[in-house]
């Protein structure tokens, strides 16, 4: 009982900043899908959550994905549910987009595009960074 009280007193007070960083292409490995699922589960814990897409990770958000040829579920539609899960801080690195000939209009959800320097600053403010 005393342990529970301790949790009640201290638990909800501590809100940490969690940042999930996606650097890999959506298919070929399981990283992108797994990271998305972790973000959706973690969203239930009332923490400060942000999601970043950089390097090939920006391709995860590309519109009009067609996975029929590789026999995998096209989970790009699921990014649209992030808003329902109250995950509102979604950053995409400007340089990564440009290097792949993409713009904000090519993405499935509205995002905040940040230059590498600005993104670095946001990263520096985090308590936990999970990279995949």
């Amino acid at each position: 009982m005393s342990e529970m009280n301790e949790f009640d007193e201290n638990g909800p007070e501590v809100i940490k900043r969690f940042m999930y960083v996606n650097r890999k292409a959506p298919y070929g490995t399981i990283y992108a899908l797994e990271c998305l699922e972790v973000v959706l589960v973690a969203a239930a814990f009332d923490q400060d959550v942000s999601v970043v897409f950089l390097d090939d990770g920006v391709c995860q958000l590309k519109k009009n994905q067609d996975t029929t040829g590789i026999g995998m579920k096209n989970f790009s539609k699921t990014y649209g549910a992030l808003d329902d899960y109250d995950v509102e801080k979604i950053y995409v690195e400007k340089e990564s987009l440009a290097a792949r000939g993409l713009t904000e209009d090519d993405l499935v959800i509205p995002v905040e595009v940040l230059a590498a320097d600005d993104l670095r600053e946001v990263m520096a403010q985090q308590d936990v960074i999970i990279s995949s």
Partner: protein, 110 residues
Amino acid sequence: MAYECNGVTIETDEEGYITDISLWSRELAIRIAEEENIEMDDDHWEVVNFLRNYYEEYQIAPAVRVLTKAIKKTLGVEKGNSKYLYELFPYGPAKQACKIAGLPKPTGCI
């Protein structure tokens, strides 16, 4: 575990969620609901259809708080609240209604 529906055996996982979503039908939904002691009426169907549409759009079964919020947004507060949804699905709107809707276990239900 498995359900018998129109002479076809439909496999489920150990918690009773059907494993092949494409095998879902309204008849199967009624069979699963029977197993859950739920008699499907228009209000139940409204939630089940809502979940199926949500899955179609986002490819996931929403967690209960997300479902509640989404229903509130489209059907109004008198349906988008826990009390109403738990009256329809006493063992949890997301878990029970998702099962009846033929969807996987909700993402983010803990």
